[in-house]
Chain length 228, copies 2
């Protein structure tokens, strides 16, 4: 079972590291990081990630996992990456994303008419790609499974692990990882965090979100132009 | 604020990646991976991690984070690493661990008479280093903060972020990472998982746990011999 985790400059490391830790423990899993080239990439926080495979030499994927991050903005215009994702999706049993990775699936044309989720700050953007966007932490629509922001990747991965390997294996992995979360604060969603914190977080991301909006509009226009 | 995350062969990537994603977002944080040498290491699941710094060229640490993993067994006998940890602890504001990283803190002599926690399968072992072991997800004893198994590193990091940067910043980070966990299964602790799953997980780790027990006994003997 080949599980390819897309890596690119500016990804959010935990979007990938959470699901990797869960899915790599499924019996028979062969997880690897797949990059456009073999050159190491840097996460948005400076973490170095080294691809195990490239678009050229990676085996066909049973599961594709696309993480998000600020680097998503550039990928939305990267035909080579979008084409790799689109091509990989033909044979994959599951095509998945965490956080704003769903925007990449969208730009690759994989979310038209599909139910999907994404980071709470990107919900309005995901609609541009024809998705029916739900505010849920994990959304399953056939073989397309999408997770919400960053840490939702862990919940997403357990949902996927249960579907692939059954409840007992998934529970063994949950116990191994002691996934019994107890957040010491209660600000994990816009509803819980309250208006002040939401405004602070939006303010910090203003410039990135502006650029993202432009990149999404461009990618969505191209997607629909190709269709007509 | 220099935050050093120890890396070594056989670490559990998520022990490190969870806290990194939280702590690196604190204003003024300068996070880096610190290894014995600059050579990349591999996690217990094959994930490649590239040190940013080495024991030799890392700046003095304000915060030390020691992850766990099967590779802990070898580190328990690695005087160079134990001595780096012990030395770093003198000036650090916080000396911390996630999962079985606490065994390394213990072997370095930092947990004598201290309250601490660890992965549920390692609780009895941690006692060997003179710690008062609690079954909690996060334990704070002065400047020593320890987390339980793997995913508890995220809860640990939010607790630490609140102490360093205050509640508001910690809440902003929580919202950014959408840390509003909703595990789709309920087997995250031995009590919740039930006896069958606990036995399965213990069975899978039997050989590693046997070797760990021998390594802990040796390390504890050395620690107490050095004292007397």
């Amino acid at each position: 079972m080949h599980i390819g985790f897309l890596v690119f400059d500016g990804l959010t490391n935990l979007d990938l590291a959470g699901p990797y830790e869960v899915l790599a423990r499924i019996p028979g899993a062969r997880p690897f990081l797949v990059g456009k080239t073999a050159t190491p990439v840097r996460s948005n926080l400076g973490f170095i990630l080294t691809p195990d495979k490239t678009f050229e030499n990676a085996p066909p994927l049973d599961i594709l996992v696309v993480p998000g991050g600020s680097g998503v903005n550039d990928l939305l215009d990267d035909q080579e990456t979008l084409s790799y994702i689109e091509k990989s999706s033909h044979e994959a049993k599951y095509v998945t994303s965490v956080c704003t990775g769903s925007l990449i699936l969208g730009a690759a044309g994989l979310l038209k008419g599909r139910r999907a989720t994404t980071h709470w700050m990107a919900r309005d953007l995901l609609i541009s790609f024809g998705a029916e966007v739900l505010p849920d932490r994990v959304v399953v629509d056939g073989r397309i499974i999408t997770g919400g922001g960053v840490t939702s990747g862990i919940d997403f991965a357990f949902e996927l692990a249960r579907r692939i390997a059954g409840r007992e294996i998934a529970e063994q992995i949950q116990l191994t990882l002691e996934y019994n979360p107890k957040p010491p604060l209660d600000a994990g969603s816009p509803e819980r965090a309250g208006e002040g914190i939401v405004m602070d977080v939006r303010a910090c991301s203003r410039q990135m979100l502006h650029e993202r909006r432009l990149a999404v509009i461009k990618a969505a226009n191209r997607l629909y132009a190709n269709e007509s």
